[in-house]
């Protein structure tokens, strides 16, 4: 339900659906998201994982615990109340170096996690019209499931400014990818691998900028993902940045068109003046600026969430009860 009058919109809400832990790119994008959220430049509307490996949910849980609690002096306190969604499945766990580490988490079973398409839908319902963006890194499985829910297309059209897709393993679930490209009701910005390769994450920052906490989960994941030192290709970071900061000139865009998958499973853009899809393009002049921004934001210290306020009615009732007790 959209209230009639909005005086000031809150920062844009980000719905982030990723293959967290399959590579380091998706993890860095989550760190970037937290950096912007800590500076009130966006809000984390929801987090979901789009491949069936509970260890990915545990990693996400560990990162969320870190960001939600580190600011209060307890690096591994309770996780935020935001439900974490992950697609359920029976695929045997793959040999993924980031997930090989035992991440501290209470998640043990599938029902410790949420149904991802419902997490996304419910999160979007809590956003003002046109004040949410979605970022996809990994297969389109969850987004296709979201499209299958009743009455979701109008919700997406109303709430979501843009869907930013990092190429990565987008086409790993081919039917889902085809469905999303064919039916998605909002503009799509597609970030090809090449952009991620042109704008990698500077690995030297891991030992310097993240050192304020020796148990920083992003730094630990980065070290686990490859042999240090290395600069990680980062299409998900580019997709995330373009979604949160579309008007700051970090990237350029192709002309409009319609995305589809060719016979090799490669995403291609058919130019069309009426098309709502575009390719993201790197701007060489922005490379250094973006590398610094990636570092500053991804390594930003956790920020304490604002304290919860009680509704006035409860405060009034408590005061009345207190007075009654005193009178007695």
């Amino acid at each position: 339900m959209q209230p009639a009058k909005i005086t000031e919109l809150p920062p844009v809400g980000v719905v982030y659906d990723s293959n967290l832990g399959q590579g380091i790119d998706s993890v860095l994008a989550l760190a970037l998201l937290h950096g912007f959220a800590g500076k009130q430049q966006c809000r984390i509307a929801s987090l979901t994982v789009n491949y069936p490996d509970l260890r990915a949910a545990q990693l996400c849980d560990a990162i969320e615990r870190f960001y939600s609690s580190a600011a209060n002096g307890d690096p591994f306190g309770p996780a935020r109340s935001l439900p974490l969604g992950i697609v359920e499945g029976k695929n045997p766990p793959a040999n993924l170096p980031v997930l090989a580490k035992a991440w501290k988490s209470d998640i043990r079973k599938w029902n410790d996690t949420a149904i991802p398409e419902l997490v996304m839908r419910n999160a979007l319902m809590a956003n003002y019209d046109g004040n949410a963006v979605m970022v996809l890194c990994g297969p389109a499985t969850n987004l296709a499931s979201l499209l299958k829910l009743a009455d979701t297309a109008p919700l997406l059209a109303a709430k979501v400014r843009v869907l930013a897709i990092a190429e990565g393993s987008f086409a790993a679930d081919l039917p889902a990818a085809r469905r999303v490209l064919a039916e998605w009701p909002t503009p799509i910005i597609f970030c090809p691998r090449e952009v991620g390769a042109e704008l990698p994450f500077p690995g030297s920052a891991i030992d310097s900028d993240f050192s304020y906490n020796p148990a920083h989960p992003i730094a630990e994941a980065y070290r686990a993902a490859g042999t240090m030192p290395y600069d990680a290709p980062a299409p998900a970071l580019a997709a995330m940045l373009s979604a949160i900061k579309p008007n700051d000139g970090y990237f350029t865009l192709s002309g409009p068109g319609t995305l589809s998958l060719n016979s090799e499973g490669k995403t291609v853009l058919q130019p069309s003046a009426q098309g709502r899809h575009r390719f993201l393009k790197a701007d060489p002049a922005q490379r250094e600026l973006i590398a610094k921004l990636y570092t500053d934001m991804a390594a930003a210290k956790p920020v304490a969430p604002p304290p919860r306020r009680l509704p006035p009615q409860i405060v009034a009732e408590e005061e009345a009860a207190k007075k009654a007790r005193e009178k007695k």
């Binding site: 996690t113 419902l118 009615q313």
Partner: protein
């Protein structure tokens, strides 16, 4: 083969002047030559028992899945019936959340509980949605006297601001006939009784009291009819009929006691004529009547708003003079949390008595409980946090011997409560593709 037994029609009524009493399901209602395939099955009934202000989750949650074993402190009263219930975890009502409407969780959670719709935040032009019990009632009500029954225990206004700008119509009703038309619960046992069995509800309390000095029992009014019928019944059905009519008589006596009841315990508000002063007795009386209504197929659908959402009712009956709602905002104070747990346990104890009654009523080779889906639940999980996920939910009964019971089932987080409604609609013979924010039927309840 000579068939001597006469079949009694399912819709047989005992009639007298000013009174009509429907009959329970009797063996004689099964035709003598019926086979298993042609034997009419007792109808499936459904009811919701709603408690406000969430629960003390520490003492509600079982903490395990699978066969019900050790019951939590609050659920302990249901221990004798644990093979007849399922405890469901992680069901969520997203429509109860603030979304973009700010404070007012109590107003939202009750209005959205059976409608699956976030209500409009207003005190005047109210709007929610048609509740699913009404959809079911409209479909299955043709063979009954009432599409649905709405009952409650707490007198509550229907207008004004009851929660941060939400109309009292939202906190004080569960069933919604239309999106702007809630169905206020009947609080007065006599009014409900007369709705079920007689037509003198329009009399003033004084006139009714005067008339009661001379009036006979409803059973006296229909006694000739009852005797005629009994002659055609076998010994088992005669016993069933006797038991059933005795329970109707017991309700009459309970109501008569309530009429003459002086207020023994101050419940914190004025009690209208005919409402028992004692909470447990009031609860028992209303559920006795719902039982009879189900037993005799007067209705198949009921909602029971135990007390209104956000209520500050005190429970002096169990030594708690504090208001329920302020207690739930305990901010972690152990003393207040203990009182919340006591209130929650007290509520479940009353519910357990009703489950016991339903289990004791035989219908063919099953029980009334087997042929019911009685959901006990709340629109808030944690009353302190105002959370709308992992809502406390117990489903008693097997939905017409369709559900496996005796289990703790924990669904994945964010599973819509409306999924349970879809499943219940299906069991009630009203298959529906989508309701509220449902994503599909609730899995895991059905027999393999």
């Amino acid at each position: 083969m000579i068939v001597t037994r006469k079949a009694v029609a399912r819709r047989t009524l005992l009639r007298g002047i000013g009174a009509t009493v429907a009959l329970p399901f009797l063996d004689s209602m099964v035709p003598a030559l019926a086979t298993a395939a042609t034997t009419p099955k007792p109808p499936v009934r459904m009811a919701f028992v709603y408690v406000p202000n969430g629960v003390d989750l520490r003492n509600w949650t079982l903490g395990y899945e699978g066969g019900l074993d050790r019951m939590s402190r609050i659920l302990k009263p249901l221990d004798p019936y644990k093979q007849d219930i399922n405890v469901l975890g992680n069901l969520t009502h997203n429509a109860g959340r603030a979304l973009l409407d700010g404070p007012g969780d109590h107003g939202r959670c009750s209005a959205s509980y059976l409608t699956g719709i976030q209500p409009r935040k207003t005190m005047s032009d109210i709007r929610a949605g048609v509740s699913f019990d009404q959809i079911v009632g409209n479909h299955v009500g043709a063979g009954t006297s009432f599409n649905s029954l709405e009952v409650g225990l707490e007198d509550a206004r229907q207008a004004g601001d009851c929660d941060s700008g939400y109309s009292c119509a939202y906190t004080n009703n569960l069933a919604w006939r239309a999106e702007s038309q809630p169905l206020p619960p009947v609080l007065n046992p006599r009014a409900l009784f007369e709705r079920l069995f007689g037509e003198d509800a329009a009399l003033t309390p004084q006139a009714r009291r005067r008339r009661n000095l001379y009036r006979s029992s409803v059973l006296d009014l229909v006694s000739d009819d009852a005797k005629r019928l009994a002659r055609d019944l076998g010994p088992t059905d005669q016993r069933k009929l006797d038991e059933y009519l005795s329970s109707v008589r017991e309700i009459e006596l309970q109501i008569a006691r309530a009429d003459n009841d002086s207020i023994k315990i101050d419940p914190g508000f004025d009690k209208p004529y005919g409402i028992p002063a004692d909470f447990a007795e009031h609860f028992s009386l209303m559920t006795n009547m719902l039982t009879v209504a189900f037993q005799s197929n007067l209705t198949r659908v009921a909602t029971f708003l135990v007390t209104r959402e956000g209520t500050s009712r005190a429970y002096r009956e169990i030594g708690i003079p504090d208001g329920h709602h302020p207690l739930t905002h305990h901010r972690g104070q152990e003393e207040l949390m203990e009182k919340v747990a006591q209130i929650n346990t007290y509520h479940v104890a009353q519910f357990a008595k009703w489950v016991g009654k339903l289990k004791n009523i035989q219908e063919g080779d099953s029980t009334l409980l087997d042929n019911s889906m009685i959901v006990y639940g709340a629109g808030l999980a944690d009353g302190n946090k105002h959370s709308h996920e992992d809502l406390p939910t117990v489903m008693a009964g097997r939905g017409g011997s369709k559900f496996v019971t005796g289990r703790s089932i924990v669904y994945r987080k964010e599973t819509p409560m409306c999924n349970m409604f879809l499943t219940m609609m299906d069991r009630m013979g009203v298959p529906t593709e989508h309701f509220g924010d449902s994503s599909g039927p609730l899995e895991g309840l059905d027999l393999a």
